[in-house]
Amino acid sequence: MSYFSRRKFLGKTGALLSAMVAAGFITSTAMAADYPTAEVNTTGLAVTDDTVTVGILHSLTGTMAISETGAQEAEKLAIKQINESGGILGRQIKIIQEDGASDWPTFAEKSRKLLRNDKVAAVFGCWTSASRKAVLPIFEQENGILYYPTFYEGLEQSKNVIYTGQEATQQILAGLDWVAEEKGAKTYFLIGSDYIWPRTSMKIARIHIEKVLGGQVVGEEYKPLGDTQFGSIINRIRLRKPDVIFAAVVGGSNVAWFKQLNAAGITSKNQTLLTLSVTEDEVLGIGGENLEGFYSVMKYFQSLDNPNNVEFVKAFKEMHGADSVIGDVTQAAYLGPWLWKAAVEKAGSFDIDKIVEVSRTGEIELDTAPEGYVKLHPNHHLWSKTRIGQWNRDGQATVVFESDLIEPNPFPEGYQ
């Protein structure tokens, strides 16, 4: 049904690329002949002799459109690049885009449509945990595959989902270790929005602080989603004088939180703050001047200085405008189509079961990821590095720390 958006997408980039794509078609027909459709697609997916159809499922409308815009832009970029380089098994990727409308049943409904009616070979999408939880049973039932880009709370591992963002322990433990060692932090104040991701993250953080780092949690606060008044909490922070504020506030609240913190005189000059929930996307709304000097712990920052990333940032800005910014989730979303390509080529097939099988081997890897080398763990999460970025006034971060590759562990022993 979504021919409109697909056509729009192709139209945007088509003129520029037509020559390259034409060249791609020539090689692709040659390659496609090596992989007859009957062999690479035994389960009736939308694969023809020269195309394969995938779905993109993000919120284009509603409250979550703020966050999900970057992710779907990155997925389109990756697919465009794959098509330019000859496609997958000689087939060009066609996109069917659906709008989840920030509404979880709509996500469920659209994913069922994509899998059942459109027979897409893979779906790239979802952002919130709630939307993922809503579509998960459908992906399991219809046996589809979802590439999910957001860093999230863990506690989940499905054969039908590839998690390209970090699970909670990957993000949190390295960040806390760094702040304890580098800043000599002993006391911590935890604050988050009141829902599952911050609560699970803070639970892991508390156990790590108390049992491993020997520190002390002097306060743990949760704000209802969308709440914009942080005065009382800021005073409580003053009362407890923590060495570190560890924050996971999201959405509109996040903006209010940093603006009010700054106005109350709590800035990087007198307070260390480490947050789990600020990427370059959020900085646009918060304003660099309110964040200056605070730290984010993420696996990716736009300012990362490596050849892959320089190229990625350039391509992204060419496609989506020079003003666009790239956050952690955007980069993780960009990995989705590439990881899928790697899996399909390794399996020599579009069949979901075969993709899952090769994913389980732990041998799917990408050298070309903007964040650097990544490898898929048999538990369907990525091995990745965790980085600490310090925010500058211009909305970019300076990376001050980089860990080694960290093993994903969605069900962390001792942290549950």
Binding site: R116, A134, P137, L155, D194, Y195
Partner: protein, 395 residues
């Protein structure tokens, strides 16, 4: 038999309208739609319960509730709790610290089932709870509001605030409620796998039949003396009161009935969609339910079903093709209905269908009467002073 005919179906024309609706949702949809689309229609029809409940409450009672999602949610959550307990048997949850409790409780360090979950292990109790919890809740709210003669805009805002309170509670108490993710991954109903196509088809028919039943029951209520009084009360509340009727009791009753109807819709929603989340309890879904009723025609029990279907088909269709335009269209539709077609689809039908010769026999004379009274009301109001915003200020 004649009694049933006149009172539950609303005479010849009423029976015809219900028959047409029944043929549409029981025969035509299942024949022409694939399993996926049919399941969608099934979901839409669960919202139609809420729309029907608003015909009673708002169309006839003149009481606008912007918190109908609360009752939809209560019904849905009751059903979801039962299904979640069934899905969380010790075998399939053996990787948890405490096997046998729902997964989200385990993540939130609960080591046993909270007391208010325990009764939901019984299916009979769950069915009773779907009826009783919303009606008791509605009774408490209704009693304290209507006895104090709170109405109009005040009641609308207060119901809206109740929807907010319940959402904040559900999201904040995630160990007991599943939080913002809701209660997900529901599998079987008394051992019957509700995720299969055949189960979905069966549930669709159960849902459609229940909806028709609820419409007929509502028709019965509205054709009774009670229905007449309700309408009289909406137009001239004081006169009804001075005639010796306790107006607040009628309002409480109709509020409770509408709560139960919405809750049944919620329970069927959970069964067909496979999860329940706080996003069906808050302000936005509650107002959308009002939109369905307004578009269909707030005075027409049948019309609102078509209204619900139309808005939802529009929402799905437009968001597939022109996602950017959907909110413009929805907003515009809403304004247009309020300004130009206060009786919605039903009003348009009754106005224009008689002019088309072969449609004339289909025009529902009873809804015709309904809609005649409504514009008359609006006209009559324009000659008098504006409605008071609180009944309290009036007295």
């Amino acid at each position: 038999m004649n009694f049933v005919y006149e009172r539950f179906l609303g005479g010849k024309n009423g029976a015809l309208a219900i028959a047409i609706l029944a043929i549409l949702i029981l025969v035509i949809f299942p024949l022409f739609l694939d399993a996926f689309r049919l399941n969608l229609v099934g979901k839409y029809l669960t919202f139609a319960f809420a729309a029907v409940s608003l015909v009673l409450l708002w169309g006839y009672g003149g009481i606008l509730s912007l918190g109908q999602g609360v009752f939809f949610g209560l019904g849905g959550y009751a059903m979801a709790m039962f299904l979640k307990l069934e899905a969380s048997d010790p075998e399939s949850t053996k990787i948890q610290t405490t096997p046998g409790i729902p997964d989200f409780m385990d993540w939130n360090q609960l080591y046993e089932l909270p007391w208010f979950w325990i009764p939901f292990e019984s299916f009979t109790f769950t069915l009773l709870a779907i009826i009783l919890v919303p009606s008791i809740f509605a009774f408490i709210i209704g009693y304290s509001m209507f006895k104090r003669r709170v109405g109009g805009v005040y009641f609308a805002i207060i119901t809206q605030v109740i929807a907010v309170i319940l959402t904040v509670l559900i999201v904040g108490q995630q160990g007991y409620t599943g939080g913002i993710n809701g209660i997900t991954d529901l599998k079987t109903l008394n051992g019957w796998d509700i995720r299969t196509d055949s189960a979905k088809l069966a549930l669709y028919f159960i849902n459609a039949l229940l909806l028709l039943g609820v419409i007929m029951l509502s028709k019965f209520i509205l054709t009774s003396k009670f229905g007449q009084l309700l309408l009289a009360m909406k137009d001239k509340e004081d006169r009804v009161r001075f005639s010796g009727y306790d107006v607040s009791n009628f309002k409480i009753f109709v509020f409770c009935v509408s709560a139960v109807i919405a809750a049944i819709g919620g329970a069927m929603f959970t069964l067909q969609v496979g999860f329940m989340s706080p996003s069906f309890v808050g302000i936005v879904p509650s107002i959308e339910m009002v939109i369905f009723a307004a578009v269909g025609g707030r005075m027409s029990l049948i019309g609102v079903v078509y209204g619900t279907l139309l808005v939802n088909f529009g929402k799905t269709g437009f968001s597939e093709t022109f996602p950017e335009l959907w909110l413009f269209l929805m907003g515009g539709l809403f304004i247009a209905v309020v300004m130009f077609f206060p009786n919605g689809l039903a009003g348009i039908w009754n106005k224009y269908a008689p002019k088309v010769p072969f449609l004339r026999p289909l025009v529902n004379s009873s809804t015709n009467a309904e809609t005649k009274s409504a514009p008359a009301k609006i006209e009559s109001e324009s000659t008098i002073e504006p409605e008071s915003t609180t009944e309290g200020a009036k007295s």
